[in-house]
């Protein structure tokens, strides 16, 4: 049998560390022992290939999941999923979740005293097309306070979860909005200490993808781990 094609190792400079004390929840949830590097066997280069049949088009339009329209500024969030060689990642599951325009999640444990919106759940999913492209319709999420430190506010963000083609390529991230004044104060964003890497989490306003007289457009390309260009003997 042919050997598994390994992935490039994580480029740690562009990633957060597990322990980032400014984000208090990392203090007791980060490993104290170094991770053990293991080779990429079949267990690592394979991963869940999602059955597409269960996804309906309405799953990608968060403004049409209820009888009425949600309150808020309509947005189109679109982009491409690529690997580190710049190749499209086609037919991969993308899941998103976000709070409503007032900054409240539908989750029962979100106690922020902002109104819930009966017409907004805040969850979406789709599968990228053959070119790795995706497009969600939603409303712009609000900022909300949290209890990390005194007067802490999360900048507006949308959570993204992606699988890619393998167990290695799994990625959960957050998309931010350009020009958000809360970004420099946010320790979750700030956990990515390289400013160039952090900037990759900020979407860009895109006139092209706006829908005239209906919705604003934001572009967010996502890069997943790619293959190792020079496989090593091991």
């Amino acid at each position: 049998m042919s050997q598994p094609r390994p992935y490039r190792r994580e480029q740690s400079a562009g990633q957060p560390a597990y322990l980032y004390p400014d984000y208090k929840s990392t203090l007791k949830r980060s490993p104290s022992q170094p991770l053990i590097t293991i080779p990429h066997t079949l267990s690592e280069v394979t991963g869940p290939v999602y059955g597409h049949s269960r996804i309906a088009p309405v799953d990608a339009d968060l403004t049409r999941q209820h009888a009425g329209e949600p309150i808020g500024e309509r947005i189109v969030v679109s982009g491409r999923v690529l690997d580190e060689s710049g190749r499209a990642v086609p037919h991969t599951l993308v899941e998103i979740w976000q709070c409503n325009a007032a900054g409240r999640y539908i989750h029962a444990k979100d106690q922020h005293p902002a109104p819930l919106d009966p017409n907004f759940t805040g969850a979406g999913r789709l599968v990228t097309d053959a070119n790795g492209e995706y497009r969600f319709v939603s409303i712009k999420p609000g900022a909300y306070p949290w209890r990390n430190h005194v007067n802490a506010w999360r900048p507006a963000h949308i959570h993204f979860s992606l699988f890619g083609p393998s167990f290695v390529t799994r990625l959960v991230t957050q998309m931010y909005f350009p020009g958000d004044p809360l970004i420099p104060f946010d320790p979750i964003y700030g956990s990515v200490t390289d400013p160039r890497a952090g900037a990759r989490m900020i979407s860009r306003f895109d006139m092209e993808s706006t829908v005239p007289e209906w919705a604003l457009g934001y572009k967010f390309d996502i890069v997943l781990r790619g293959r190792d260009a020079t496989p090593m003997e091991g």
């Binding site: 480029q11 562009g14 990633q15 007791k28 053990i36 293991i38 080779p39 959960v172 390289d194 790619g226």
Partner: protein
């Protein structure tokens, strides 16, 4: 490398409020009527550096079928694939930090070159306060093949037990608790 346009997007925490967004169709049950193999329950509890339950984690597992084949195009082993087994499961932890999957015991899968790996389940943990997914493996305590497993052999001997699921007496229930930090900290892998 960061100046090239194609560097992995930074990872961010899952946050505490993913539950309405990430219900996976099969969820914690990987088995259907026609699935081959020994039915098992895999369970455990996740705790943090203070020993407190992690009540808002998402646990994902990925495993081979009973014959040791993954349901994935890059598994080109010359043996039949169980079409009734996907191999992926997802479960949020409960109020006591516990998770539970209904699955089958995986067969052995090859490692690199000619080495075989002992039967194992790949685990991914995501949670509030976890900036990047934490990857670990569950092995089955008492398997002879554990001794020669090339991944277990990379783990210091004293820490290997953190990856061993113990079988409950008389029941097909395997338990592996996961400790994110501190004493008896689970071994996590850089994959």
């Amino acid at each position: 490398m960061l100046d090239t346009p194609y560097v992995q997007t930074p990872s961010q925490t899952l946050g505490p409020f993913f539950h309405d967004a990430l219900p996976y169709a099969a969820g914690p049950n990987l088995v259907s009527e026609g699935t081959e193999g020994e039915r098992i329950t895999v369970e455990g509890r996740i705790t943090d550096g203070d020993g407190l339950a992690v009540t808002d984690a998402l646990v994902e597992i990925w495993q081979a079928d009973a014959q040791g084949r993954y349901n994935h195009p890059e598994d080109e082993q010359d043996k039949p694939r169980d079409e009734m087994f996907g191999g992926f499961g997802r479960a949020p932890t409960g109020e006591d930090g516990s998770f539970r999957f209904q699955t089958i015991k995986p067969g052995a899968v090859p490692g690199l070159h000619d080495a075989m790996q002992a039967p194992h389940i790949n685990i991914c943990i995501l949670a509030r306060g976890v900036m990047k997914r934490m990857a670990t493996r569950l092995y089955f305590a008492g398997e002879d093949s554990n001794r020669d497993d090339p991944v277990l052999n990379l783990v210091p001997e004293g820490r290997r037990r953190t990856l061993m699921a113990e079988r409950a007496a008389g029941e097909p229930v395997y338990r592996m608790d996961i400790v994110l930090q501190g004493e008896n900290e689970t071994v996590f892998f850089d994959i």
